[in-house]
């Protein structure tokens, strides 16, 4: 239907380019942080992440080996060595004073005060000579412009997982998420069946109530429930947050499942009734197996929602080291370690890795759930 004569190829190119631009816009922020999470602290703070993929040019000040290392060559005293600690890199320029740190090309000889000379070659080997013996305890300063090849490290992940408490938060998030995803499903499925296939007074009113409760802001619920939880002694307990997430997730669960279950073929259910099956049997033998796609959709929704939630976790769970969830930890890091991008980037990716995996493997169900939840119902 888009093949309007003569316009296809030109339009096709334009569309492709536009989509590439959109995709780039939408992925670059994430890629930037992902790349940064594999760089070390100095690299992140001195150069943009987009340079991580190519060799980076840096102006560095290195000290030569101390005077203890000098050797006598004829009537000259010489200190020699390599400015790269690990021997990798390239020098593109060097200098002998801070006033002209890039004045000399590698291989040439620079004149210093007191008849000393310095030379640095492209691979970083330096040689400093002096007619009199070097004294003092510190080496001579060498100003160099270096090209460092791309370097990536897993050290950030190692650090956040094993010494920054992220692992603990990861486990906490899991602890919160799994029961809060599983428990609402059964409760909602039974209710959805009743709302879809059983006749009773007040049914329409209940459906309307569920639709209305879908949009109640959580902010309304926080204070009364916090007071209630404190009164019955589950104020800062996993049990409290499981119940809260179950309650908050139910409207969507009932709504999604009711829409789906109401759309199942009437004949199947009627014929089962004629055969003498009770509602409980119909639910267990027919509805539950047939609604698997809808159950999966809701499970994914609830999983992503609970995993990514900050508000409910902050209110119903403690902010102490033992109970902090991933999102809470990230927020705390943003406040206290705002400039430590190596920590922030790695932590952020630890926290979003799980939802991303769920997202990419179960996208089909997620999309189906979204469509059932919005297009049909509204």
């Amino acid at each position: 239907m888009d093949n309007i004569a003569g316009q296809k190829s030109a339009l096709g190119w334009a569309v492709n380019i536009a989509v590439v631009a959109l995709v780039l816009l939408w992925t670059i922020p994430t890629i930037g942080l992902l790349v940064s999470s594999f760089r070390d602290r100095d690299q992140i703070s001195t150069t943009g992440w987009w340079r991580a993929l190519t060799a980076s040019e840096q102006n560095v000040i290195v000290r030569s080996a101390p005077p203890d290392a000098q050797v006598a060559e004829g009537d000259l005293w010489v200190i020699a060595g390599n400015i790269f600690e690990d021997g990798e890199g390239e020098v593109t320029a060097f200098g002998v004073t801070s006033r002209a740190p890039t004045a000399l090309t590698p291989g040439t000889v620079g004149e210093m005060s007191k008849d000393r000379t310095m030379t640095v070659d492209a691979s970083g080997n330096y040689r400093i000579t002096s007619p009199v013996e070097f004294s003092g305890s510190r080496g001579t300063r060498i100003f160099a412009t270096t090209l460092t090849p791309p370097q990536f490290t897993l050290a950030n992940y190692d650090r956040v997982l094993f010494s920054e408490g992220i692992f603990r938060s990861f486990i906490n998030t899991f602890t919160v998420t799994i029961p809060a995803t599983v428990i609402p499903i059964l409760i909602a499925a039974f209710a959805a069946y009743a709302l879809a296939w059983m006749e009773f007074p007040g049914r329409a009113l209940l459906i309307a109530a569920v639709v209305g409760l879908l949009v109640v802001p959580l902010q309304m619920a926080l204070i009364p429930l916090l007071k209630l939880h404190n009164q019955i002694g589950i104020g800062k307990d996993y049990l409290g947050i499981w119940l809260a997430h179950t309650g908050f997730g139910l409207p969507l669960a009932i709504y999604l499942l009711r829409n789906y279950i109401a759309g199942l073929p009437r004949e199947i259910i009627e014929s089962a009734r004629v055969d003498g099956a009770t509602d409980f049997e119909i639910f267990r033998r027919i509805i539950l197996p047939l609604s698997f796609p809808a159950l999966a959709s809701f499970a994914i929704f609830q999983f992503l929602w609970v995993w990514n939630d900050l508000l409910v976790a902050t209110v119903f769970l403690g902010n102490n080291e033992e109970q902090l969830v991933m999102t809470g930890r990230l927020r705390e890091l943003l406040g206290s370690r705002g400039g430590d991008w190596e920590i922030l980037a790695a932590s952020a990716f630890v926290s979003i890795a799980v939802p991303l995996v769920v997202f990419f493997t179960m996208q089909r169900y997620l999309v189906r759930g979204l469509l059932a939840g919005s297009v049909k119902g509204g």
């Binding site: 239907m1 888009d2 096709g12 569309v15 959109l22 995709v23 922020p29 930037g32 943009g48 992440w49 987009w50 486990i171 906490n172 602890t175 799994i178 059964l186 409760i187 209710a191 709302l195 059983m198 009773f200 049914r203 309307a208 109530a209 209305g212 409760l213 949009v215 109640v216 802001p217 902010q219 309304m220 619920a221 204070i223 009364p224 429930l225 007071k227 049990l239 309650g247 409207p251 009770t278 509602d279 992503l304 990514n308 508000l311 209110v315 999102t327 922030l344 980037a345 952020a348 926290s351 979003i352 939802p355 997202f359 990419f360 979204l370 919005s374 297009v375 049909k376 119902g377 509204g378």
Partner: protein, 330 residues
């Protein structure tokens, strides 16, 4: 590890508990009112009246306790003092109407409510239209949709890095400032730049929500009957006209749904503001203001009052949704 055991135990107890409740209560009903014998007719009628409530029981109880009761209780709390005990009449409302931060939040929320749904729907519509025309459209959709899976806090970290500002000395490591410097401009501290910083925070939510709009609108666009498009092509309409005059009018309903869904989300969103600015530099919003009063100040009365304002703002959409749902069911 102990808590994982606790969690597993809860799942098992919870699932078994549910099954036991539903099975047991249904069994009990069948035994108490057997559908045979001399009173069979009466029993069947009675159990048909009771059974739906057995199915609905746990759900209705939880919804009532976790969503309906809090609404009523919040209204009550908004007339009480900080600890929620003493009755203070309209004091909290008087405070709110004279509070500068409240007005700031209201104005910011107004902009959030206009910009985020509009931009997300717009970009979603464009993305849906374009990706439906190309071969690698599904991959492109996945990538644009991906931010949906990222938490608001995670997204805030990602974007804080995009907006990063170094000022003088050293390269800019935030990509926006780097591009700006590359073009010869001055780097900016975007997050603290009043009054525009709110808009930079909105971009984060737009980035997250565009995928949602795209997925739904893409399905709606595919549902448009081919005949209407073929007819317009025969009549000589160009692609631009087809899109705006044939396709868009046919999916108005879906656009409205997307728009309202994002609107609701915008009213509730607070994570982004909390993580990025915490309401400083003139970027406060209602949801974060409520959180502030509840958590930092511990004033339950004022926090409830602010929460009620959010509730009132949501109500028209709630009514609209209910009316639509009822119309569809008839």
């Amino acid at each position: 590890m102990e808590q994982l055991l606790y969690a597993s135990a809860t799942i098992i107890v919870g699932v078994f508990g549910c099954v036991a409740y539903f099975y047991g209560s249904n069994l009990l009903l069948d035994v108490a009112l057997p559908p045979r014998g001399e009173k069979a007719g009466r029993n069947i009628n009675l159990s048909n009246m009771i059974r739906p409530w057995l199915f609905l029981g746990p759900a209705v109880a939880l919804l009532g306790l976790y969503l309906v009761y809090p609404v009523i209780r919040s209204i009550d709390l908004s007339f009480r003092d900080a600890s929620g005990d003493a009755w203070v009449g309209l004091d909290n409302y008087r405070w709110m109407l004279s509070d500068a931060k409240f007005y700031e939040s209201l104005i910011n929320n107004f902009w959030w409510l206009i910009v985020v749904p509009a931009a997300s729907t717009f970009f979603g519509l464009i993305a849906a239209t374009l990706t439906d025309r190309i071969k690698w459209g599904n991959l492109a959709k996945s990538l644009i949709f991906m931010p949906m899976a990222i938490s608001f806090v995670g997204a805030s970290v990602i974007w804080k890095f995009v907006y990063d500002y170094r000022g003088t000395g050293g390269d800019e490591i935030g990509i926006i400032n780097a591009i700006l410097v590359g073009l010869g401009g001055q780097p900016q501290a975007w997050i603290t730049l009043e009054p525009w910083n709110s808009f930079f925070l909105m971009i984060i939510l737009i980035w997250i929500q565009t995928g949602f709009a795209m997925v739904i609108l893409s399905a709606a666009l595919r549902g448009i009957p081919e005949e209407t498009i073929e007819a317009s092509i025969l009549d000589g309409a160009n692609p631009w006209q087809i899109f705006w005059k044939i396709k868009v009018p046919q999916i108005w309903g879906t656009i409205a749904v997307v728009w309202t869904t994002i609107t609701i989300l915008v009213l509730k969103v607070f994570d982004i503001v909390l993580a990025m600015t915490n309401g400083q530099w003139g970027s406060q919003v209602l949801a974060n203001l409520m959180f502030d009063w509840m958590f930092r100040a511990g004033d339950f009365g004022r926090a409830s009052t602010v929460a009620l304002v959010i509730m009132v703002l949501v109500t028209p959409i709630m009514v609209w949704n209910i009316r639509n749902a009822r119309r569809e069911m008839v």
